[in-house]
């Protein structure tokens, strides 16, 4: 552990995970994103990829040219003196995503929350969400924070296939499935917006820090 309470841990032979804390918060997430941008800008030799997350960031490197110990030490030093502060990053963009609220689980969500389907739709589309991070599958953005009255645990059995464009909720978050994939979130609607296109630059529509609003389509 270093003076700022950061801890390094190996994630296999080719990655170091730096843990920043144990409690999730938007301040911590912003600090992790800013530190990830600092590391990006520092262009540390043999670093290949940087993956920010809620409590930690993970740095992938080439283990044929740097040992874990060297890399962990270098990264802890760099994380201690970030050159970017929260808010220094790219200007957040605002997105509006049209949604047909006719998802497979809409009725079940209404029943479980004690709301009408109309209330579920209006509460889901009432607020602007922040992109916490991208991960899971290409272009999948974790969006926070859902109206507390809509918080539900994930479905006990994930579906083997959730269709691309499905708009879903779980716990305090909402997301759009960018491609057909197994998934355990509650599907409340669908959109035709393309969340990820490998031929686009950048391929992912959303970036961490952006805001997203969902607009009901009749």
């Amino acid at each position: 552990m270093n003076s700022k309470g950061l801890r390094a841990h190996s994630l296999g032979d080719s990655a170091v995970t730096i843990a920043f804390g144990r409690e999730r918060s938007s301040d911590l997430l912003e600090r992790i994103h800013a530190t990830a941008q600092s590391l990006e800008a520092a262009k540390i030799p043999h670093v290949e990829d940087i993956v920010p997350a809620y409590l930690a960031l993970t740095v992938f490197y080439d283990p044929l040219h740097a040992s874990y110990d060297e890399m962990a030490k270098k990264l802890l030093d760099a994380c201690e003196r970030p050159t970017q502060l929260p808010g220094d990053g790219a200007e957040p963009r605002n997105h509006v995503i049209p949604v047909y609220y006719d998802g497979l689980d809409l009725d079940a969500v209404a029943a479980a929350t004690g709301l009408s389907t109309g209330d579920v739709i209006s509460r889901h589309s009432a607020r602007a969400y922040t992109v916490d991070l991208l991960g899971f599958v290409p272009g999948f953005a974790y969006l926070s924070e859902l109206d507390p009255s809509l918080h539900l645990p994930r479905r006990p059995e994930p579906r083997p296939r959730v269709l691309a464009g499905s708009v879903a909720i779980a716990s305090a978050q909402t997301a759009v499935y960018p491609l057909d994939t197994p998934g355990g979130w509650h599907i409340i609607g669908r959109t035709g917006t393309v969340m990820f296109d490998p031929a686009r630059d950048p391929p992912a529509l959303l970036r961490a820090g952006d805001t997203v609003r969902f607009e009901p389509v009749a």
Binding site: G12, D13, T17, Y54, F136, P202
Partner: protein
């Protein structure tokens, strides 16, 4: 050019994967046994990270539409070239019009075919690998079908000699079933008993296993936390979901996940688990990260040796 004349149930273009797009959720991907693909590339006279074919689940045939140099590696299968038997891990020359036929795979799970010049499909996000869930990379983002033709790239060096064979002691010891692991990022959340279970019992690869991950059957581990806020995993990460049965993440695994990560498979041993079919067993042995990286460097140096010997054989 090569053409698929009889397609096996699973056949895709793979290389060493996408190393720089994880932050937008793009999995590393690439050959699930990347050591085997690299070996086949060395024997075909290619750069180690050239694209080849990953083959599984059954037999099929490929026709060479030009004179070609090729090699097979990874899973073992009965293979013939115009009726002559094709040995594994050997440089072979094919004449234009000849057909390579693979019969049922006899041991292992994924077989690799490298052809001199490499498979020349477009590079998508830094790699020629097929990512089936996203329908991109490889040949039109899908498995290869009968009638698909693939262009070959320009050879980068001289061709190894016909019949050049790779010494067995330079290959991973697939038959042992011992898979070394290092401590995972959440190793300290698991109690003594879970650690004993993981390292002292035998695990069987279940039918629920594919390029995303291998679900393991055996003694369940205690999951102390349920799920945690998502963070990055990597191929080889052993995560423990609520039911206590570990999952070893593989090439196409999600970039982040919330199950606690008890251990990570040493990269040098990833081929051993990757090549296990459902029903086959493995045992885990804990090593330090220093030992693990040392074994990976040894594996890289073995590959370099195979490349050097192959190139020298052409003189």
């Amino acid at each position: 050019m090569i053409t698929v004349t009889r397609a096996p149930p699973y056949l895709t273009v793979q290389d060493s994967g996408r190393m720089r797009s994880r932050a937008s959720g793009v999995p590393q991907g690439g050959a699930i046994d990347s050591f085997a693909l690299r070996t086949a590339n060395a024997l075909a006279g290619n750069q180690l990270d050239a694209a080849g074919l990953e083959w599984a689940l059954g037999g099929g045939s490929i026709k060479f539409e030009q004179d070609a140099v090729f090699a097979l590696s990874g899973a073992k299968a009965q293979a013939t070239l115009s009726g002559r038997s094709v040995p594994p891990c050997t440089t072979l020359y094919a004449r234009s019009g000849e057909e390579l036929t693979i019969e049922q795979i006899s041991s292992g799970r994924f077989l690799y075919l490298s052809v001199r010049g490499g498979i020349d499909v477009p590079i998508v996000l830094g790699s020629r690998s097929t990512y089936l869930p996203g329908r991109f990379g490889g040949h039109l983002g899908r498995t290869l079908k009968r009638g698909d033709s693939l262009a070959l790239g320009e050879p980068s060096s001289r061709s190894p000699a016909d019949g050049f064979h790779c010494a067995a002691d330079l290959l991973p010891r697939y038959e042992t079933g011992i898979v070394h692991v290092t401590l995972g990022t959440h190793s300290d959340l698991f109690d003594e008993a879970s650690w004993r279970t993981l390292t002292e019992s035998e695990y069987k690869v279940s039918a629920a296993s594919d390029r995303t991950g291998y679900k393991l059957q055996g003694a369940p581990l205690g999951n102390p936390v349920g799920t945690l806020p998502s963070e990055a995993g990597c191929p080889g990460t052993i995560q423990v979901p609520g039911d206590g049965f570990p999952i070893a993440l593989m090439a196409d695994a999600p970039t982040v996940g919330g199950y606690p990560k008890i251990a990570v498979v040493a990269e040098a041993d990833l081929p051993i688990i990757a090549q296990r079919s459902p029903g086959e067993t493995i045992r885990f042995e804990l090593i330090t990260i220093e030992q693990s990286q040392r074994s990976l460097r040894r594996r890289a140096s073995d590959l370099h040796t195979i490349s050097q010997l192959a190139i020298r054989s052409s003189r």
